[in-house]
């Protein structure tokens, strides 16, 4: 999915040439030997099942289906009845993504440069640990936070900010966005942190010495240097965001439904494996397009030259 920019390939060739010049060139097959284990795992556990799904998506696969070839699954998957859910899915995923970056980016910056050595590791550990909690338990916990009689409403009522509980806090798109953002925060902060850590602090000092304020430093130094990490984060997080089914199922209510819940329903609830597989590929294609677009918009190559 992620195509490495041509410059990487060139660099690779250059590296190999120097390497070969100094020592005996390793066997042509050596990389394949090293790669065999991971490639096998990927083929068996990733490409294999995906291939099965691809086959199913073109077959009659339901309680009464006989496995004959058909295009009807795609016709069913593209029916207008899923359109509203599809639109919901994209809105929720994009809003969560934006929110996630808005929180994760400053947080990663603070951890990398501001909190100091004493807090850096504990904070990272806290983020990693927050992901250790079983996702279902975490979502149920959010119910007690966002509920009508939950923490937020009780607190606001006690403070006299509101008279009656806010009823849009739970079982809405809002609650799905909140839960998704919170769930995937560690996955956004950690790659961004890693990207920031590669910045030499002396570069920041130099910027300051040359009279750059925080905004200029950010725009001209920090952001260009972390742009690759920024894009990597989008790729890592957007796919799970757009395909989550636990959060919409538990806090989405009737208005925060997402496509993955429909797919789950088709597979596990209705035994409609054919339509479920087809819809899976529709979702996969949609998320592929979004990721590809974000690459285009950010124009990976031009950002990369600023290194």
């Amino acid at each position: 999915m992620v195509t490495s920019p041509p410059r990487d390939a060139e660099r690779q060739v250059a590296l190999e040439t120097t390497y070969a010049g100094r020592r005996r060139r390793p066997g042509r097959w050596a990389p394949w030997v090293y790669l065999s284990a991971p490639v096998t795992i990927l083929l068996v556990f990733f490409a294999g099942p995906l291939g099965i799904l691809a086959v199913y998506s073109f077959q009659e696969r339901s309680r009464t289906g006989d496995g004959s070839w058909t295009l009807a699954n795609y016709a069913a998957a593209l029916q207008p009845r899923y359109l509203e859910t599809a639109a919901n899915t994209v809105v929720i995923a994009v809003v969560s993504m934006v929110l996630l970056l808005a929180i994760a980016y400053p947080l990663a910056y603070l951890i990398a440069f501001r909190v100091g050595a004493r807090w850096e590791v504990p904070l990272l550990l806290a983020l990693a640990l927050s992901d250790e909690l079983n996702p279902l338990i975490r979502i149920y916990a959010w119910r007690t936070v966002l509920g009508r009689n939950g923490l937020v409403n009780t607190a606001l009522e006690a403070l006299g900010v509101i008279d009656a509980p806010l009823d849009w806090l739970i079982f809405t798109k809002f609650s799905v966005v909140v839960v998704l953002t919170a769930s995937w925060l560690p996955y956004a902060v950690i790659p961004l942190y890693a990207a920031m850590k590669t910045i030499d602090p002396r570069v920041l000092e130099a910027a300051r010495d040359l009279g750059a304020g925080w905004w200029v430093t950010f725009r001209k130094v920090v952001f260009p240097l972390t742009a690759a990490g920024f894009l990597a984060t989008i790729v890592i997080v957007f796919i799970p965001l757009i395909s989550d089914f636990a959060a919409p199922a538990l806090v989405g209510g009737t208005s925060g439904r997402m496509l993955a819940s429909v797919i789950e329903d088709l597979f596990l609830g209705r035994g409609q494996w054919g339509v479920g597989s087809a819809l899976t590929f529709v979702l996969l294609a949609a998320s592929g397009v979004v990721v590809w677009l974000s690459y285009r918009i950010a124009d990976m190559n031009s950002l990369d030259t600023s290194r």
Partner: protein, 367 residues
């Protein structure tokens, strides 16, 4: 897509295994027919609704017969069916509701019970031994029975006798609780509620009636907070909803746990509702058919049956068990509905190919 994909992977792997296996049904039947009373032939894999058995009963079974019991749970009859059909996983015993027994029986997914290995079948109330979904209890033995109605807060409804499905479907009547209503995440149950409100049968095979119910549900959806089959009682107790569509015993267990009998109630709307029987049955995915039949016999024991019903607050189909059940529970009209209420209840029936129309309509309602 990490979490979602894991599920799909499982489904795909299951499919491969299912394709590789298959057959062997008659062999399993022969094995079941040869079982003796109290015989065990290995550990028990029990596939049940969540929180549907007293853990002490499971412990007792383990201790008495020296086997392990693995419990897995499902949230709807349809998802259980999909899982059993997929094959791969071993389930020695499942607990489908009435109409689902019919579907599984007709699809050849169930093993016939060996009556000689389950002498306690004689303890059953004759009312439950010859129901249309499984005449003569050839394939299944009743577990518990109950009703589907409305759980409510006394803040919004004064008396269970005033209950009507209009509290959910009538735009004016339900307006005050907009956003504080939950419906079961179960296609047949949700449509049963809508069809009853419209005055039709819950087993309607009339496209026009189904269409009417679909429109009604779509219009009501904006007032519904969520579709849930596993936490409607918790949402009601927590005050997140004030009108909850659900199963009687689940409400009562939750009321009891929260000591909320004064604030919350349950009843059957005046238009009527659904009565159901859940049943123990042995799917063709079973390995330990003797243990499974011994377990059925164990549950049908009067003392165990009474303990099961009291723990769940569901009515027992076991006549001998009912003699041992707390008289207060026996006389509770919400647990054991009196004849005039029972008359208004309908069992869900297998609708054959028409069931797909319900599933499609429910998808339309939810999306």
């Amino acid at each position: 897509m990490v979490r979602g994909r894991r599920l799909l992977l499982v489904a795909a792997v299951v499919a491969i295994v299912a394709a590789a296996c298959g057959g062997g049904g008659s062999e399993l039947q022969a094995k079941a027919d040869a079982c003796k009373v109290d015989e065990v032939d290995g550990d028990l894999s029990l596939y049940n609704w969540s929180e549907y058995i007293d853990p002490e009963l499971v412990e007792k079974f383990k201790a008495t017969y020296g086997v392990e019991v693995t419990e897995t749970f499902f949230e709807s009859n349809e998802s259980m069916l999909a899982q059993v059909e997929a094959g791969g996983a071993v389930y020695d015993l499942v607990v489908p509701s009435d109409y689902m027994v019919d579907i599984m029986r007709q699809e050849g997914l169930l093993v016939k019970l060996n009556r000689e290995a389950i002498p306690n079948l004689a303890n059953l109330d004759p009312k439950f031994t010859n129901l249309p979904f499984d005449p003569g209890n050839e394939y299944s033995a009743p577990y518990l029975w109950g009703t589907t109605g409305i759980g409510f807060s006394y803040d919004v409804v004064d008396d269970a006798a005033d209950l009507t499905w209009g509290l959910i479907f009538d735009p004016e009547l339900s307006a005050p609780f907009a956003g504080k209503i939950s419906l079961l995440d179960d296609e047949r149950e949700v449509f049963a509620a809508a069809l009853k409100y419209l005055g039709y049968s819950v087993n309607s095979k009339d496209e026009k009636e189904l269409q009417e119910a679909t429109e009604l549900l779509k219009a009501a959806k904006d007032r519904v907070a969520t579709f849930t089959s596993d936490s409607f009682e918790d949402l009601l107790v927590a005050g997140e909803v004030v009108i909850a569509h659900g199963w009687n015993g689940d409400f009562f267990s939750a009321f009891d746990e929260a000591d909320a009998w004064e604030e919350l109630g349950y009843g059957i709307p005046k238009e009527g509702g659904v009565a159901w029987v859940d049943n123990m049955a042995i799917p063709t995915t079973a390995e330990h058919v003797c243990t499974a039949q011994t377990f059925i016999n164990f549950i049908l024991d009067p003392e165990n049956g009474a303990q099961l019903a009291e723990w769940n607050y569901y009515a027992s189909p076991n006549a001998k068990a009912n003699e041992l059940i707390d008289p207060e529970m026996l006389s509770d009209p919400a647990v054991y509905p009196p004849p005039e209420v029972f008359e208004k209840l309908e069992f869900l029936e297998d609708l054959g190919d028409f069931a797909t129309k319900y599933a499609d309509a429910f998808t339309e309602v939810k999306s």
